[in-house]
């Protein structure tokens, strides 16, 4: 495979495009509400009307507005149909040349769509994730070719540093620096690993990227491998994502067949092989040292760092671990330049971030916005606020490692530093909206139960501490707690935070601390003499 072959494939793919394209979402969300039946019905209707040479039905990835799925969109008109039922497909096809279909038409001019800036999701919902040609026609694998033929590994690392990309898996460590460290380490064997464990409940960005645009991850990995000097890669995907796994397998097979993976990629001396490892349902395996143990076929138990995986990782070799979304940013950065990327976002947080909006919010789904966009814009404008006129009580970000941001802090811009300032974290991008019905003690207890169950048990502060915190929260919830218990709760939280071995234990108290900080009335209402609760106007609530 050479550049001209790549261009040929892209040209042929574009030329074979029919005048009217009907894109039908076949990502997990829509598939679970009859998406496949909708696609088949569209195919049938096109055939029944003899429109095959003018109209093509394409199965695409997530279009973002998952709560209104199954979604169907028609090009070039741009008409979006929501909650499509198979029986409506005939009328959608009948209306392709004008006229109205018997299906709900969505408003594509609402902020949910117009305020987005697509970098990671640029192909999502547009290309067919099961066809490599579709990705190549969208400029796919061009960056890899450029990198292999026109750039040195050091130049690639420089570009990523200049772009200012930070890890999207949670902590926000500068990606370029990490690459530089692995690149510098001398070793015969190195690995690149994709962290696709996505254990945060309420987060589905990584799933969506893998299902909608799997080649983007392979291209990002290959570029990373070239930059750091690795020749083997692993994608560690959670077992709960069967569709993502199968699309990734398809993508690997296709790329290998075209010589875009394997030996002598693009006729260059670069060799790169990718394997998939399927997780087995342990949240702690998202932690990088635990993930490495798991790939090696052991219990996924974290170990102290240093040494960092960059120095000693998989099988003791230098290993680069990045999140799915981090890799998804790589090809666009090389295609459009570090400057372009650095011009999006804020001073310290460059680029865009994908968020999974869920919970008590009108528009549930995926959005991609520039870093620095105020939470209020995301939740109220794009998300449409709480349905049925309810009010936002809190926005939970960062899952069990994060915190609850109160309504009063909705003007916080989403970037790493600002979110930390209000006691939460960016995390991987899960954003769950809660309303007045939700009791924050109950929410804190929910996350603590999660951490307690998922603690690997290696170190005492986390193993025993989470159990004790959970017990105290239960006591509070059941109105059996005293002020003394509340004080113990605080002490215990600080202790677990400071003495646990890995990020799971270190961040487990965050939801408790943030709810204590912003929603003390929820706690107070459940503590103390029964005559007190109404004193500050907070009605006692239990979920």
């Amino acid at each position: 495979m050479e550049l001209s072959d790549l261009q040929d494939i892209a040209r042929k793919e574009r030329e074979s495009q029919k005048p009217i394209r009907v894109r039908c979402c076949t990502a997990a969300g829509c598939l679970s509400s009859q998406g496949q039946a909708v696609k088949s019905a569209l195919d049938e209707a096109v055939a029944a009307n003899g429109l095959e040479d003018r109209v093509q039905v394409i199965g695409v990835g997530c279009m973002g507005l998952c709560s209104e799925g199954p979604l169907v969109q028609v090009d070039p008109a741009g008409t979006l149909y929501e909650r499509v039922e198979p029986r409506q497909c005939a009328s959608i096809v009948a209306a392709l040349d004008g006229g109205d279909a018997d299906a709900n038409v969505g408003d594509t001019t609402r902020p949910f769509f117009t305020r987005q800036v697509a970098v990671v999701l640029e192909n999502s919902g547009r290309i067919d994730p099961e066809r490599i040609e579709s990705y190549i026609a969208a400029d796919g694998y061009h960056a890899l070719h450029t990198v292999l033929h026109d750039m040195t590994p050091a130049q690639v690392v420089e570009t990523i540093i200049a772009a200012g990309l930070r890890g999207r898996g949670g902590a926000g460590y500068p990606t370029g620096l990490k690459w530089a460290t692995v690149a510098k380490t001398e070793a015969d064997r190195k690995f690149v690993v994709v962290n696709a464990d996505e254990g945060d409940p309420g987060a589905f960005m990584d799933r969506s990227v893998l299902e909608s645009d799997p080649h983007r991850i392979l291209e990002g990995m290959a570029i990373a491998a070239y930059a750091v000097g690795a020749s083997q890669g692993y994608v560690y995907v959670r077992g709960e994502y069967p569709l993502a796994i199968s699309r990734l397998q398809t993508a690997i097979r296709q790329a290998r067949r075209m010589g875009l993976l394997g030996t002598q990629v693009f006729e260059s001396p670069f060799n790169f092989r990718v394997d998939i490892r399927i997780g087995a349902g342990a949240f702690v395996c998202g932690e990088e040292t635990a993930l490495i143990r798991s790939i090696e076929g052991h219990r996924g138990v974290p170990r102290p760092r240093p040494p960092y995986p960059a120095a000693s990782g998989l099988f003791g070799c230098p290993t680069l671990i990045n999140n799915v979304e981090t890799y998804a940013n790589i090809a666009p950065i090389l295609r459009k330049g570090a400057e372009w990327f650095a011009s999006i976002g804020t001073e310290k947080s460059k680029g865009t971030k994908v968020f999974a909006l869920a919970g008590k919010i009108t528009n549930t789904g995926l959005i991609e916005v520039p870093m620095g966009t105020p939470l209020r814009t995301i939740v109220e404008e794009m998300g449409g606020g709480v349905p049925d006129g309810g009010t936002v009580k809190a926005v939970q970000t960062g899952g069990p490692s994060g915190g609850c941001i109160p309504q009063s802090a909705l003007d916080t811009p989403v970037d790493y530093e600002s979110l930390a300032q209000v006691g939460s974290i960016m995390g991987s991008g899960g954003m769950i909206v809660m309303d007045e019905q939700d009791n924050m003690v109950e929410v804190a207890r929910f996350f603590m139960e999660f951490c307690m169950d998922e603690s690997c048990g290696k170190c005492v502060p986390c193993r025993a501490g989470t159990v004790q915190i959970h017990r105290l929260l239960t006591k509070i919830r059941d109105r059996r707690a005293t002020d003394e218990d509340l004080a113990t709760l605080r002490t215990l939280c600080e202790m677990v935070k400071q003495t646990s071995l890995c990020g799971l234990g270190q961040s487990a108290p965050n939801p408790v601390l943030s709810t204590l900080r912003y929603f003390p009335e929820d706690y107070r209402a459940l503590i103390g003499a029964p005559s007190e609760p109404s004193a500050n106007g907070a009605a006692p609530r239990t979920a």
Partner: protein, 175 residues
């Protein structure tokens, strides 16, 4: 609470798998997986995935068989099989109902769905009914939060469920 795997399950043969390796075709398929990984110990989790897909659950004999084949101590195989939520050392019921208890589903009332099924079927979450007809399980986010609350019924993910809709569906299985 027990997390579980949802969609990679295949129907399992009736009864446990007690046959000798030579007599059971499934062992051949397991053998093929191990061979593909060159019997390397680091493929243990992959092999257990395949074993569970083939046999439905990881019975003791099966774990010992895997330990011998990959030349790793049985203690390590048991250690791994019990560490991960995905692996089940007990047989599951004829039908499975997995209710997502991730945050998005939780705030949309998933707990009420679980309670409704528990009451209706007389089974506790994480367990199987006495007649072996239904296993009720919970999961930690299926990544389908956009259609919360999500429930997996015999491998098919369904969204926007309520206590009523789910009990209606599950009732049919119990008759």
């Amino acid at each position: 609470m027990e997390s579980t795997v949802v969609a990679r399950e295949k129907p399992r043969a009736a009864g446990g798998a007690k046959q000798h390796p030579s007599g059971d075709n499934r062992f051949k398929m397991l053998e093929a997986t191990m061979k593909r990984h060159q019997y390397q110990a680091d493929a243990l989790i992959e092999v257990l995935h395949t074993a569970q897909e083939l046999f439905g659950y990881l019975e003791e004999d099966l774990l010992i068989y895997v330990a011998h084949s990959l030349k790793v101590p049985p203690s390590r195989v048991f250690g791994v099989a019990t560490f991960y939520h995905f692996f089940s050392l007990k047989p599951k019921g004829l039908h499975t109902c997995v209710v997502c208890m991730g945050t998005a589903c939780y705030v949309k009332g998933a707990a009420n769905v679980v309670t409704a099924i528990e009451t209706m079927a007389g089974v506790r979450s994480g367990e199987t009914t006495g007649d072996g007809k239904l296993s009720l399980l919970t999961a930690r986010c299926l990544g389908a939060c956009g259609i919360a609350p999500a429930v997996v019924l015999d491998g098919a993910v369904t969204g926007r469920q309520t206590p009523d809709t789910v009990t209606q569906l599950v009732k049919g299985w119990l008759e």
